[in-house]
């Protein structure tokens, strides 16, 4: 499953980048995320509950960061599994400073899914992923607003 898109944040690039490296910010942004705990500087362990059509199941996994090039880009890797299958993916995230204190986020990733997720959920998973990303970005937008205003 290919996931790609872009989003403009109203905030400077450094703040946006930091937010993407903050597990608390991410944990509250992703719908259904039960926990996200920092293991070390680049690894997080998490648990998430997903609803995809007839599937309602929890997944546990690891989120890791690599190729970090702050505040410009980084790579996100996810590797999770649960009773309803597994997901493994790599995503490139790129931040462009648009000048007027706004930042363009571009993301492109490829996620492999397996098990019930694939065999029963594949028809819905694209739209579920899109809606999760949309609501996640909206949440992050709010977080950003608060953070930037605090500064």
């Amino acid at each position: 499953m290919i996931i790609e898109g872009e989003h403009t944040f109203k905030g400077p690039r450094e703040v946006v980048y930091d937010m993407f490296n903050d597990p608390n910010a991410l944990a509250t942004a992703v719908p259904g995320m039960q926990k996200l705990v920092k293991v070390d500087d680049t690894h997080y362990e998490g648990a998430i509950n997903l609803r995809i059509g007839p599937i309602n199941a929890s997944f546990a996994g690891v989120l890791s960061l690599s190729d970090e090039n702050p505040p410009e880009s980084c790579t996100l890797n996810i590797d999770g599994k649960g009773m309803a299958g597994f997901a493994k993916g790599v995503g490139k995230v790129h931040f462009t400073d648009l000048g007027d204190n706004s930042t363009l986020l571009k993301y492109a990733g490829d996620v492999n899914i397996g098990g019930t997720l694939a065999s029963v959920g594949q028809r819905m998973i694209d739209s579920v992923a899109k809606s999760m990303i949309k609501s996640g970005l909206e949440k992050l937008e709010k977080t950003l607003e608060e953070r930037w205003q605090q500064k």
Binding site: M83, G85, G114, G115, T116, A118, S119, R123
Partner: protein
């Protein structure tokens, strides 16, 4: 041949049980203390198993036992090869990698079982599956057939040099020489896509090891109760009659239920004996899609060489056949494809090559048609391509090349699934097509209906194809017919039944010989304690092979009735005749003895017994044909295509069929209609899809689309020819798969004809609206 009962349109005797909810199905089997099984299945298509931790699952309340491959010790072995390798075909290669009951070390397809939980209820068993930690390291999946064939491909079986499961080359005549004489040579790459059996009822298995009686009773939804009994007895080191296999009523077979080496078949008897408990397992729909079996995944490279007038000189077909992760069913399916590619037309030179490959997908075994639809699809598509090239009418080029009745029996020069050279026994293939063209009013459609529809902006198209169905294959079946003291008759045979109507047609065969009412004939199928020799229900052989054995046994009982009655009525044998339910003296019907009374007398008491006593009005007989009988037919489809939405309505479907002598025209019609609906499903609705990682994307009826009643033709018409087969005394040929075989090529041809301005060249057997849209889009470019 039509008699008092044989050949009559008698309504199905079993339906009063089936339709009123009184039939016993496998889930109706309840035994006190019965435990329930659930399988943990791999989500990965290809992976190294690192660790399976079942310790938490074992502690789950209500769980009795949890097993992985290691727990079965030496009992764990790859299953038997269900059909023998093709030793008869010179130079053929075959690598047997039979199904393993539960994955050990490595997982080879998504859905392969890796652990089994036995618990007090299925709910508990399923819950406990969540407690198992399955740790595996995924490997790249082998999916694309042609890439899998390359030496550089990732391997499904590490101990083999490649993914080659089989390589078979056969040639009749000399294709390359024929090609040199040809005016035109047309080549195409064609695809036959994969479909499921999708029976209404999934598989099920109940086993009870009775320690005190030292007997194992198995209830199974199998198409092959006797081979299953042999397999279980062999694995459990029991003598065969310590194992009783019973098949209750079954909601459809369609092929995948022929297997006797699935996880449940192998593991549950062992567990039942170990725990000394009855165990039940019922397959759910997702398991059925993922891990039973399915069929038809081939890629063909074809070439046809012809003269300008449309005469076929030769045909060449090199094809890849997907066998899935294992090949327990040998080469039956691709061999059927080879034999059916050239079974209609006069093709003096034929080269055919099977490249059977292992992939990380579920195992391929027969599904209604078993290789035949692929062979017919390929041949018919190439006839269409040739007709286009030569600017001939599709019906005309077929008529020109169809075999004539006087050419039978015809040896094809190609060895088939029964490992003897193919012989087409009888038929009137041209007659089928002539009748079809009349029924569908082909001329009128071409000259009036289609042009008129075009003027009105309607896209009507017609497809016309011919086909054969190899049926009634060996090895043999048997039956025992017994007249009871109450005058009723029982007949027991070794095959099992999945809804075909055997309880009716077998009764008709017996009733005809013994002149009893069909309602008075009790048919017993699929209980190894009642009859313990035979092979099973597949390849349209139930009514033909078991039916002939039943006929033979009935003839023997009839002779015995005459001999016994002659003695008791005191007249010569030629002076007695069968009155309904009794035997009477010719011309003096008042002097008679009822069959029940005669049966009692045939069981002699002290004083009346003779030295060579053969008690009872009973006889057992067998039937083994030298080779299969070939049914034939022709099919026309008229479609109405909406070029905007690509919604397709089938206006008419006409099928002419020749299965020789007919036992029951009503049931024949039903068999053909049922198979046509499957053929329509295969052509435009059903499709099994794997992604590039070996994940099955169609594991529920949300994604695997079954045709509905509303998708059936506005008009479905069936015509019949009756060319008796010389291979059995009743002249029968099978019909079970017929409707499913010609439907996809006729449908594809009709769609091309309806969209003639796009000049489509459709290569796929299974279409859907978006695929046709893509074809149109590509064609426009």
């Amino acid at each position: 041949m039509t008699g008092k009962y044989f050949g009559q349109p008698i309504k199905r005797l079993e339906d009063k049980h089936l339709l009123s909810g009184r039939a016993k199905f496998i889930d109706d089997i309840e035994i006190p203390g019965m435990l329930h099984a659930a399988f943990l299945r791999s989500d990965y298509a290809h992976a190294i198993i690192k660790k399976i931790d079942v310790s938490e699952a074992r502690k789950h309340p209500g769980v009795v036992a949890v097993y992985t491959a290691e727990d079965f010790g030496d009992y764990w072995k790859p299953g038997p090869l269900q059909v023998p390798p093709p030793t008869a075909i010179k130079g053929s290669q075959f690598n047997a990698r039979t199904l393993v009951p539960i994955a050990k070390g490595k997982v080879r397809f998504s859905g392969e079982p890796v652990a089994i939980v036995i618990a007090e209820s299925r709910y508990i068993a399923e819950d406990a599956l969540e407690d198992i930690i399955f740790d595996a390291e995924p490997l790249p999946a082998v999916i694309d057939l042609e890439k899998a064939w390359e030496d550089t491909s990732v391997k499904v079986h590490d101990d083999l040099p490649s993914n080659l499961a089989a390589l078979v080359k056969q040639e009749a005549g000399n294709y390359e020489e024929a090609k040199k004489q040809a005016d035109v040579v047309v080549s195409r790459k064609l695809y036959a896509d994969r479909v499921a059996g999708a029976a209404m009822e999934n598989r099920g298995f109940v086993v009870n090891w009775d320690e005190r009686n030292q007997e194992m009773v198995v209830w199974a939804t199998t198409q092959a109760p006797l081979p299953l009994r042999i397999a279980i007895a062999g694995k459990m080191n029991l003598i065969e009659n310590q194992v009783r296999v019973i098949t209750p009523f079954i909601g459809g077979g369609f092929g995948p239920k022929i297997m006797t080496s699935q996880a449940d078949d192998v593991l549950l008897p062992w567990i039942s004996m170990k725990l000394n408990k009855p165990i039940k397992w019922l397959e759910d729909r997702r398991e059925n899609f993922l891990a039973t079996t399915s069929e038809r995944d081939q890629v063909h490279y074809c070439e046809i060489a012809l003269k300008k007038d449309g005469t076929i000189l030769g045909f060449k077909d090199v094809f890849y056949h997907n066998t899935g992760a294992y090949d327990p069913y040998g080469m039956t399916v691709p061999l059927n494809t080879q034999t059916h590619t050239v079974s209609n037309y006069r093709i003096p030179n034929f080269y055919t090559e099977i490249r059977m490959v292992f992939t990380n997908e579920m195992v391929v075994t027969p599904v209604r048609g078993a290789g035949r639809p692929e062979g017919v699809f390929v041949m018919e598509r190439m006839m269409d391509a040739a007709a286009k090239e030569l600017k001939m009418d599709p019906a005309e080029i077929r008529m020109k090349n169809l075999l004539k009745p006087e050419e039978f029996p015809l040896k094809t020069g190609i060895i088939g699934q029964d490992f003897v050279e193919g012989v087409l026994d009888s038929g009137d293939y041209k007659g089928n097509l002539v009748k079809l063209l009349e029924m569908v009013e082909y001329e009128k459609f071409r000259k009036e209906i289609q042009p008129q529809a075009r003027k009105e902006g309607k896209h009507l198209g017609i497809g016309v194809v011919a086909f054969t169905e190899g049926t009634a294959v060996g090895p043999y079946e048997g039956a025992r017919v017994t007249i009871g003291n109450n005058g009723k008759v029982s007949v027991a045979t070794g095959i099992s039944t999945q809804g075909q109507g055997h309880f009716t047609v077998f009764a008709q065969i017996v009733a005809e010989q013994l002149n009893v009412k069909v309602e008075d004939v009790k048919v017993i199928t699929g209980d190894t304690n009642h009859f313990h020799w035979g092979a099973g229900t597949f390849a349209s052989r139930g009514a033909t092979i078991a039916g002939t054995a039943i006929h033979n046994a009935s003839v023997l009982v009839r002779q015995k009735i005459f001999a016994t009655a002659s003695k008791f009525l005191g007249v010569p044998e030629d002076q007695v005749e069968l009155c309904e339910g009794s035997v009477c003296v010719k011309g003096k019907p008042e002097i008679s003895i009822s069959l029940g009374e005669l049966a009692g007398k045939a069981n002699p008491m002290r004083g009346a017994v003779e030295a060579d006593v053969k008690p009872g009005l009973e006889a057992t007989a067998y039937f083994a044909p030298p080779h299969g009988a070939t049914g034939s037919g022709a099919c026309a489809i008229i479609v109405d295509v909406d070029p905007e939405t690509l919604k397709i309505k089938i206006d008419r479907l006409v099928l002419v069929h020749d299965c020789g002598t007919v036992i029951n025209p009503l049931l024949l019609e039903g068999q053909i209609q049922g198979a046509i609906s499957m053929g329509i499903g295969n052509a435009f609705y059903e499709k099994i899809v794997y992604d590039e990682n070996g994940q099955l994307l169609t594991a529920s009826f949300m994604d695997y689309l079954m045709p509905q009643a509303t998708d059936m033709p506005n008009k479905m018409e069936i015509g019949h020819l009756h060319t008796s087969s010389p291979l059995n005394p009743l002249g029968m040929k099978g019909v079970g798969e017929a409707g499913a075989i010609p439907t996809p090529p006729a449908f594809v041809q009709a769609v091309e004809d309806a969209l003639i301005e796009y000049n489509l060249d459709i290569a796929d057997s299974n279409l859907n609206p978006s695929m046709i849209f893509e074809y149109m889009h590509r064609s426009k470019k």
